[in-house]
Every structure is written in C-alpha cells, then in structure tokens.
C-alpha cells in the first residue's frame, strides 16, 4: 500500500477517482452543517447568536492541528523513506493548513470582541496557535528558499518535525495554564459537555472541513504532479530538439 503509491501515476489515478466524491461529500456535509448550525440550532443563553461563530471556529482550529500533523507525518515519511508522493503531500498541505489556522484566528477574534471585549488577548491558547501559523509560514518559506527543490523539501521536513513540539502545547494549553479560552468540551473523559442540538451541526462542519481539506489536497497534489511531468516532458523535447 505504502510502496504502491510511491509511483505518482498510480496515485494520480486514485486521486482522480476520489476527487469528485470528496467534493460531493464536502458540499453535502457543509450544506447540512450550515443549515443546522445557522438556522435549526438554538442560540446560546449567554452568548446569544454569536455562538454560531463556533461552527466555523472549532472545525477550523481542529483542522489547523490536523493539517500540521498531516504535514509533519508526510514530511517525515518523505524524509525517511524518500517517498516522492509524501513530499508532494507535505508541500501541498502547508498552505491549506495555514489558511485554516488563519481562519481559526480570524473567527476567534470576531467572537472575542463581543464576548471578551477585545479582538485579541495574549493567553496561552491564542499565542500557541499564532506560533503554529508562523510555523506554517516558516515551512513554506524554507521549502521555496533553495534552488534545488530536493534540498528545500528535506530542510523543511526537518523544520516540520521540530515544530511538532508545539502541537501538544496547543492542545493542553487550556489545561496547563489558567486561560481565558475555554477548556476542551467535546473530547473529554466524561463525555461532551455540549447539548446534542449544538453538537450535531459541529460534527457535520468538522466532517465538511475534513473532506474539504482532502479534496483540495488532491487537487493541489494533482496539479503539482502534472506540473512535474510537464516539465520533464519539455526537458526531453528540448534535448531532442538540441540533438
């Protein structure tokens, strides 16, 4: 399975088949989640209508971490086994993850203004997510900083693994420090503390964000693989024309 997809052409075949299904799943899940979240679910008794920002904020924050784990794992696979498709996956994940992180910070800020009275507070959760955003930017900058793309992907893979230390800090920042950001309320030992009416749209949105990520990932990877093939073909043509 692992070795099977080391061949870009086989991977392209799978990605071409999967893409429309992922696109369809994204549209269905997002439509259902947005309807339930924006119209069918009740407003919060304290937060009022602003609670609906949560249906975008929580999935975006979730995906910010999910993408970073995906990025670090595929970068590690690319570095250790010299897996060519894993390298492409890592490179394609970075901008998507950066966008999710930015979306999480932006929606959090929009929610924070009416609720906390400030666009931004320097608590542990917000600061560590901001660091995550910088890590994404650093990864992309390092990846494109070399004339030899091979070196870029190797150097940035090491950086991605160094950045992994930040992931548990983000996850547990609300438990370790007494922060303004509320503690975990979905994945808990004693079950979620959110009412099912709000939990369902939240889960649907998380599903929608995940399939959206996979869909865009497939698109970006197909684009990059096609570009590589095109460049190789042009090179051969140029050499033939020269000879």
């Amino acid at each position: 399975m692992f070795n099977y997809f080391a061949n870009p052409r086989r991977f392209m075949k799978l990605a071409t088949v999967l893409s429309p299904w992922l696109a369809g799943a994204t549209i269905v899940l997002a439509a259902a989640g947005l309807y339930l979240g924006l119209f069918a679910s009740p407003a919060d008794y304290q937060q009022g209508e602003t609670v609906r920002i949560m249906y975008v904020h929580v999935p975006a924050a979730w995906m910010a971490l999910f993408c970073y784990m995906g990025l670090a794992i595929s970068a590690a696979v690319g570095l250790i086994w010299k897996h060519p498709v894993a390298d492409v996956a890592a490179r394609a994940t970075a901008p998507i993850g950066a966008c999710f992180t930015f979306l999480a910070l932006l929606t959090g800020s929009l929610w924070g203004k009416p609720m906390w009275g400030a666009w931004w507070v320097w608590d542990a959760r917000l600061t560590s997510v901001l660091v995550l955003f910088f890590l994404y930017l650093g990864y992309m900058a390092l990846n494109s900083a070399f004339d030899d793309p091979q070196r870029g992907s190797k150097a940035s893979a090491i950086l991605a693994m160094v950045g992994l230390v930040n992931v548990p800090i983000i996850k547990f920042s609300v438990d370790w420090w007494n922060t303004l950001h509320q503690p975990a309320s979905i994945v808990r030992m004693d079950g979620p503390t959110i009412h099912p009416d709000m939990l369902w749209p939240l889960f649907l949105m998380i599903g929608a964000f995940t399939t959206y990520y996979l869909w865009v990932l497939m698109l970006r990877m197909r684009r990059e693989l096609t570009e590589t093939r095109l460049r190789a073909r042009r090179q051969i043509q140029a050499e033939e024309a020269g000879a």
């Binding site: 930017l137 150097a155 090491i158 160094v162």
Partner: protein, 221 residues
C-alpha cells in the same frame, strides 16, 4: 572528547583573533536597548515596567543576529565537510560549536545585561533573577538556533529566513525568562518559570544537536 575540545578551542581561537565579531553582537544588544528609552520616553516608572521584556527581546535579537554565521563560514570554505568526516559524531561537532557560540555571544550579553538594567531603572530585586534566567535561557537560544542555522545553509535569503524559522521557537524562552524576572520584581516566587526555563534547556540540549546534525547532513549531501 578530544574531538569536542579541539573543535571548541578552534572556534574560540577563531573568534578571539577576529575579536570584532563577538563585540559587534554586544554592541547591537546595547544599541537596541538604548533605543527604547528614546522611543518610549525617559520616564523612570515606564522604563522600570518594561525593562525585563526589553532586555530579553534585545538579547533574543542579538543571538539571532549572530546565529547566521554559526555554520556558514565552515560551510563556505568546506571545513564543515571535513568536520563531518572526522571521527567525532556530527552531533558532538554541533554541541562543541554551540558551546563555543554561547561562550562568544551569550556570555558577553549576560555581562552587559545588568549595566543596561541599571540604565533602564530596573528594580534591584530583579537583578539576580535576570542573570540566572539569562544563564539558563541564552544557551537554549544557541541550541534552538543551531537547528535553524543548519537548515538555511545554502539557501537564497539566509538571514531573514532564519528569523522567520527561529523566532517562533524562541517565544517560550522569552515568556518564561521575562516571567521569572517580573516575578522577582513583584515579590512572587520565581521558582516555576525558572524550572520551566531549565526544562526547556534540558529538552533542547537533548534534542537540538540531533536536529542540527540532520540539517547539516542534508546540506552536505
């Protein structure tokens, strides 16, 4: 161990013979700190309030400035390849170079910091903790920075790139370093931030040589 000492002595000797290099870092540190009273205004209360943060941020930037050259000269003239082929493991080479870097740039910063603290009117309760926190924090900065310095070898825009990679990873050191000094000034126990600084140092000491060595290996490939 002999290899470790040889590399350490070589780097120290090189730094001493080109004495200006390490003096420049301290000069940058002093000038960066002096900018703050001029920018914020000379009010003693305000300066005392921001002193620990200003000193730490300036120290962070000074270390960053000197990190770019940590492996660069050796990479350019090929001695890094010889070091990689020499008997001590590359991790040991990295440790020796990091220790030399800290002795050349970190220690002078620690010596200069109390003088600048006086200029900034920092309360006297914080001085001991400032030294202790810098003593624990600056080697961590050199260690983390070594990973970044190894990764950018041979890249197109080294210095700016290094800042983008390394500064986010410096943030925990900054937070707990300033936390320790401010706790001491405010009369609170500074044990917790100091322990955390020590933990970060221990973690960096264990992990960063491996990361930097991996970075050097892929740069030399």
């Amino acid at each position: 161990m002999t290899g470790f000492r040889a590399i350490l002595m070589r780097d120290l000797r090189l730094a001493l013979r080109q004495g200006m290099d390490s003096a420049m870092v301290v000069m940058f540190f002093v000038i960066a700190v002096v900018l703050f009273p001029l920018g914020v205004g000379p009010e003693p209360n305000v300066l005392a309030r921001i002193a620990p943060g200003v000193l730490w941020v300036a120290a962070l930037l000074s270390v960053l400035l000197s990190l770019e050259r940590l492996f660069h000269a050796d990479f350019e003239d090929g001695s890094l390849e010889l070091l990689a082929l020499s008997p001590p493991a590359l991790e040991v080479v990295v440790l020796a170079k990091v220790l030399a870097h800290w002795l050349i740039t970190g220690l002078p910063l620690i010596v200069a910091a109390p003088v600048l603290a006086v200029l900034l009117n920092m309360p006297a309760d914080g001085f001991g903790l400032l030294l202790l926190a810098l003593l624990l924090g600056t080697p961590t900065l050199s260690l983390i920075g070594a990973v970044g310095a190894a990764l950018i070898l041979g890249s197109r825009r080294g210095g700016v790139l290094l800042a983008l990679l390394i500064l986010p990873l410096f943030i925990p050191v900054l937070i707990f370093g300033v936390g320790a000094v401010e706790a001491a000034i405010g009369g609170f126990p500074a044990r917790a931030p100091l322990l955390l600084l020590g933990a970060i140092f221990a973690g960096a000491l264990a992990l960063c040589p491996w990361g930097a060595a991996a970075g050097l290996r892929q740069a030399l490939e």
